[in-house]
Subunit: 118 residues, 2 copies
């Protein structure tokens, strides 16, 4: 299996792209940039995410080595999520995507409005 053909659904690079090319993963990486957060803090900051989808996203990111889950033996137990060094290394590429979005949002919105008016 080659690593280089992202168009092949069995290619490892494509499998990785499937994960990081997911808007919830992108948002979790951005939001954990400054340090660990609890599940409810993540849920409250990411508008529009359901608890079920956030759970699935965090589980998949943990499986892929992007986040860790730390349990503190308190009453009730405190659970915090943080980025691993691998997860942190995604900040650069993700920043390139969000910078593009911020720079081009006006043009995209104008295209959408023109399409609606057709």
């Amino acid at each position: 299996m080659r690593n280089g053909d992202a168009f092949d659904p069995n290619c490892p690079t494509r499998l990785v792209l499937d994960r990081i090319g997911d808007k919830w993963t992108v948002l979790v990486v951005l939001i954990l940039k400054d340090g660990p957060l609890r599940f409810t803090q993540l849920r409250d900051r990411i508008g529009g995410i359901t608890p079920k989808v956030l759970t699935q996203t965090l589980r998949a990111m943990a499986r892929d080595g992007l986040v860790t889950r730390q349990i503190y033996p308190e009453v009730p137990p405190r659970v915090e999520y943080s980025l691993t060094p691998l997860g942190h290394s995604l900040q650069g590429p993700i920043r390139a995507i969000t910078d593009w979005a911020e720079e081009n949002v006006t043009e995209v919105m104008a295209a959408r409005e023109a399409a609606l008016a057709e």
Copy 2:
């Protein structure tokens, strides 16, 4: 409405991120890099995409000003899809993501295997 808060589901930047943070959009941008292609050529190159999902992806990308659809009056009519200058401008940020995927695929796969072994 602020442009800057990607965590707000009504924020324009988030709306743009929802579109470009989609693996099919990423693959279509990569595949149209070198010039226009017909629908069947796109479908054949992008392994694992259904015609329905490809149609939806191209329609959404056209609406957002990322691709254009050119119809040639031949018999049968030839339809080609190509990137707009806006669509081309996504190559840089998308390349940052695919480069990351290629560099880190071994680490991600090792994490997945370790998680499966638990």
